[in-house]
Amino acid sequence: MSTLITETPAETTPTQLSLDQERGHFGIWLFVGSEVFLFLMLFFSYFFLAFGDWRWLREEPPKLTLAFIMLAVLLTSSVVLRWGEKQVERAKFAQGRAALAVTILLGIAFLVLSFFEYREHLKEVTPWSNAYGSIFYTITTFHVAHLVLGLCMLAFVLALPRIGVTRRPPHRAYSDVALYWHFVDVVWVFIVGILYVLPNLR
C-alpha cells in the first residue's frame, strides 16, 4: 500500500493555539471575487452592446467634472479607512472609529453627488431611451447599491461594542468591511475610466 508518512508535528498542544480570526476575512475575499466577476460581466455587456451598435458614436459623451469629484471623494474615503485599519491593528480603537465615521460621511457625500450627476445626465439619456442608457444606468445603479450596502456595513461596525480581536464572531469585522469598501471604490475607478473617460477620448 502506498502510504506517504511525513513528519507533520500533528500533536500540537491546543492550549498553544489562539482563537481563529481569519475565516470571515477569507469569506469576504471570495465574496469580493464573485462581485468582481459581476462587474466584469457588466462591463463586458457594455462593450458588447457598444460594438453591436454604432449609433453610440453619436451619443453625447457624459460630462467628466462631477465624476472626477466623486472619484476624489471615494479615493479619499479609502485612504482614511486604510489609516483607520492601521490604527485598529495598533489597538487605537477611538481613531479607528473616527476614521469609520469620516468614511461614512464621505460615502454619503458621494450619494448626494451622484443624485446631482443623475439629474444632469437624465436630461440627455434615460434608462428607457436605448441600450446605451439601459447599460449605463444599470452599471452605475449597481455600483450605488453596492455602495449603500457598504455604508450599512460600515455603520454596523461603528455600532459594534468591540472591534479588535473578539471571542465570538464577527471576527476582524473592521478589516472585512474595509476590504469590501475598497472594492466598491475600485469599481468606481473603472466606471469613471470606461463609462466617462473613454467616450470623451474619441
Binding site: 489562539s18 462581485e35 455587456s45 453591436g52 451598435d53 465570538r168
Partner: protein, 626 residues
Amino acid sequence: MSTAVVDRLTELWETPHTTRGWFSTVDHKSLGKRYLATAMVFLLLGGLEALAMRLQLARSDQRLLTPETYDQIFTMHSITMIFWYAQPILSGFSIYLIPLMIGARDLAFPRANSFSYYAFLLSGVFLYCSIFLGQAPHAGWFAYPPYTDALYSPGYGMDFYALALLFFTISSTVGAINLIVTIFRFRAPGMAISKMPLLAYSTLTMSFSSVFAMPSLAAGCVFLELQRRWGFHFYDVAQGGQPLLWQQLFWFFGHPWVYIIFLPATGMISMLLPTFSRRPIVGYPYVALATVMTGVVGFGVWVHHMFAVGMSHMSMSFFSAASMTISIFSAVQVFAWIATLWKGRPVLTASMHFALGFLALLVIGGLDGIVTAIIPVDWQVTDTYWVVSHLHYVLVGTNMIPVFAAFYYWLPKMTGRMMSETLGKWSFWVMFIGFNMAFFPMHIEGLQGMPRRVYTYPPGLGVDGMNFTSTVGAFILGVGIAISLFNFFRSLHPVTGRIAGHNPWNADTLEWSTDSPPAPYGSVHLPTVRSRHPLWDDHDEEFDPDDRRVFAEDRLTIATTWLDAEPVAVALIPEDTLVPLILTVVMGLLFGALLLAKLWFALATVIVCLALMAVWMWPRHERVPA
C-alpha cells in the same frame, strides 16, 4: 474516554429535538441530509415531468398535452433537473461529508449553511408557484431572447424563471464560499493539500467555478427582468440591444455549470471506486490536477454552445479546440479509474455497479460530445434529438448514476443501516437498461433530423418506433429509481436494515472512523492525519492519551494552514439560530414583490433583510477575549 466528556460534547453540539430546534439547527449533518432529501424530491418532480413528455411523444400526432403545456413541462423539467436537482444533490453530499472527511466538526460558516439550504428550498418553491398560476416558464432552460421578451412571452412565466434563478444564485454562491473556506481552513492537522481526499478537490473546483460563474447568470437574469418588466433595452435590436448578449452571458455561466454538476460526481467515484477495488487510486496527483484543470478550462469553452449563431472562423476554431482539450482531462480521470480497477481486486457491490455503469455512459456521452464539438457536425445536429441524447448521457450518466453509487456507498453512514445489495443491483440493471433504451435511439432520431422542443411529430417519418422505445425506456428507468427508493425506506426499518457499523466497506477516509450515523460532534478526539488513506495506514488518527484534542470547553474545532494543514488556531462554531430561516423568508417576499412589480414593498423587504443581517452578525455573549 470518560462519559463526562462525551456528555459535555453532546450537550454542546446536539440540537434540541424540538420544532424550534429543527428549524434553527446549523448542524452540517442535518442540513446535508435535508439538501439530499430536497434535491431528491426535485429529481422526482423533474422525472414525473419527463414521463409526461414521453407519454405525449410515445406516438405520432398525440394530443395528450397542448403545445403550450408541453413547452412549460419540458422547460420545468430542464430547470428543475439542472438547477434544483443536479447541483444541490452534490452540495448535499459535500456539506454532509466534507467536514467528516477532513476531520472538522462543522463547516466554516454553519449559519450561512442554513441560509443557503433555505434559500435553495424557497427558490425552488418560488419556481413551482408558477405552475399553480398556470404560467410556468416555457422557453427552455436557456431562455433565448427575443422569444423571452414580454412581447413574445407575455405573462409571469419568464419572470418566475429570472427571479427564481437570481434567488438560486444567491444560495449557490454562499454555499460555494462556505465549502471553499471549510476545505482550506478546517482540514485535520497533517492533511496537507497533497493528502486531501479527491472529493475535496472536486468540491473545491466546483465551488470556485460557482463563485465565478454565477454572477454571469445573475447579470443576464437582471437584464432580462429589467427589459421584460421595466422597459429597459438590452436584448432588442430596435433600441440598440443585442439578443446575443444573453447567449454570451448565459453560456459563460452555462458551461462552467456543466462541470459544476459533473466534477463532484467524478470526485465521489474517485472515492468509492478505489475502496471497492481494494487499493489506492492510481495517479492521485494526475486525477487531482485533471479535476482542477477541467474547472479552469471550463471557463474557456462557452462559445461551443453558439456555433450556429454565425461567428468568425477564428473564434469558432479556438473554442472548438478548447472544447476538445477538456476531453484530455476527462480521459486522464477515466484511465486512472480503469487502471485502479485493473491493478486492484474489484468487489462488485451495488455501488460498484453504478460506478461501472457511470464509466460506460461517460465514455458514450463523452464521445458523442467530441463529435458535437466538431463544427460542421454541430451545424448538422444542433437543435436535434442528437443533442438531447448527448446531454442526457452526460448529465444522467455522470450525475445521476454516480449519485446513486454514492447513495449506496454513503447512506449506511448517514442512516446507520445497510441497504439490500440484491435490490441495489436490480435497481442498477433496470435503470441502466431503461436509460439506454430511452436515450440511445435519440442519437439516430437526431441524425435523421428530428428537432427538439417540438410537442409532436407527424406519422411516417420513420421515428415512431424509436420514440415508442424511448417512452418504454423512460418508464423502465423510473421503475429502477423506484426500486432504489424502496430499498432505502426498507433499510430504515430495524428488521430489514442491517446495522452498518463504523466502516462497512473497509474504506480509507476519515468519515468512516466516526459512528454511523455520526455523533453531533463527529469524533471525540479530533483526528490527525499522516497519509492519503488515514484508515489504511498504521497511524491512529484519534490517538490522544492526554485528551488534548477533545476541545470540550466550547463549540470548537481546529483551524489549519491551507497548504500544509499545520494547526494554527481553534475556531469557534456559532450556535443554532433562526435568523437565516427568517432572512430567506423575507428574501422570498422580496422576490414575490419584484414579480408583482410592487417596488415600495420590495424596498421595505430589503430594509428588513439588512436589519436581519445585522442581527445575524451581532456578537452574542461577548466575553473577555481569549
